[in-house]
Symmetry: C2
Subunit: 225 residues, 2 copies
């Protein structure tokens, strides 16, 4: 059964990385809003391929695709601040330096909110989730609600942040894409794999395992019905 | 009578432009906190001279001065987005294009909050005010309170945003600097003038008029006592 709520006169911005989650959100938004635009944040991450992938998908779906350069983020990374009181790790499992910036999603969503205002969109859609994910505090529902208020107060606006995946696990995200009639497209076209392999990916990295386990669980449960 | 509240074990970040307001906040913070650092946002504004001025003051006071490049902000300016639905003015009284970005202070304070977390500061100090000012929504007290919560939720933190000037008019800001024993320093060393002239400035631009009227009012009221 499709759960559709049309808001045909309204415009939305989807925070879009080209991965499974945000692409599901993009299709979700396209069903609901008269006009949809996407925004991708480029901060020189290892997911450069993800950005190419996002660009391709946006092109295919004929939605406007804003790419915002967020390299400024690196100014806030521990190694850029060169403080003795910050411990800098030599590398994590990917052999990358510890350059993670807390509150990153706060910045991304703030930029997205301002972009929304500038292009006349009353809706922001983001694929953040509390379930099955890493537990970054700025992906949690209470933060999103607070930021929604902050954005509106900051700009005298009446905007809504939508988080269609907030309470879904990976199996349920696949289920949602099936309800939207786009499971196969999402399976084929999106990139989640840490090793940069589209579709079902390398199958070995944590992102592939999470994605593929969810898919298997969903297809199994569907076969059982 | 000096209203001092010492928090000697705590560290604060002051959002600092080199103008009268933020310099008053810097002295206010230096009285209260064990350690104070400053942050200035460089977004290529006409106040380049203000940044030099801020650097000089920070040097004299021997406080660490972070300068964050915020040129990415221009990506959100109307002319960068090239949307037909945004009206672009040809220029304002300074003959500059209409590149003002709403919610700018939301971004600045978010960056400052993340910087604070990265350097171990529990306090943020900003000179925003509801009084005598232009009425940008992201300078109002309700926004600051909301952002304070959003910042803490975003980073699992326990930070406080201080706004010592929120309810003061220009006369009272001068009074505060006098209470702090730094009225003359602020009068001599800070830059408020749109024409880039330090101290009492050109005397003609709106910023000079506001500043100088406040000073005259304060000095008059002091003389009367």
């Amino acid at each position: 059964m499709k759960r559709r709520l049309y808001m045909k006169e309204e415009k939305a911005i989807v925070v879009f990385s080209g991965g499974q989650d945000s692409t599901t959100c993009l299709f979700w938004a396209k069903e609901r809003f008269k006009e949809v635009e996407t925004v991708t944040f480029d901060y020189g991450q290892r997911h450069k391929l993800e950005i190419e992938c996002a660009t391709e998908i946006a092109k295919k779906l004929d939605v406007k695709h804003h790419i915002l350069d967020m390299s400024l983020l690196h100014q806030l990374a521990p190694n850029a601040l060169t403080r003795e009181d910050i411990e800098i790790s030599e590398g994590n499992e990917d052999n990358l330096p510890n350059t993670f910036v807390p509150g990153r999603n706060l910045l991304f969503l703030s930029f997205a909110g301002i972009l929304a205002k500038q292009v006349g969109a009353k809706h922001l859609v983001t694929g953040v989730s509390e379930t099955d994910y890493s537990g970054y505090p700025d992906c949690r529902d209470n933060f999103i609600q607070s930021l929604n208020l902050s954005l509106n107060l900051a700009m005298d606006e009446d905007m809504t942040i939508h988080t269609p995946l907030m309470w879904l696990d990976k199996k349920q995200v696949w289920e949602l894409s099936d309800e939207l009639g786009v499971l196969e497209i999402i399976r084929e076209e999106t990139l989640t794999c840490y090793n940069g392999i589209k579709s079902d990916g390398c199958g070995e990295c944590p992102a592939c395992k999470l994605r593929n386990n969810g898919l298997r669980q969903y297809l199994d449960s569907k076969g059982e019905k």
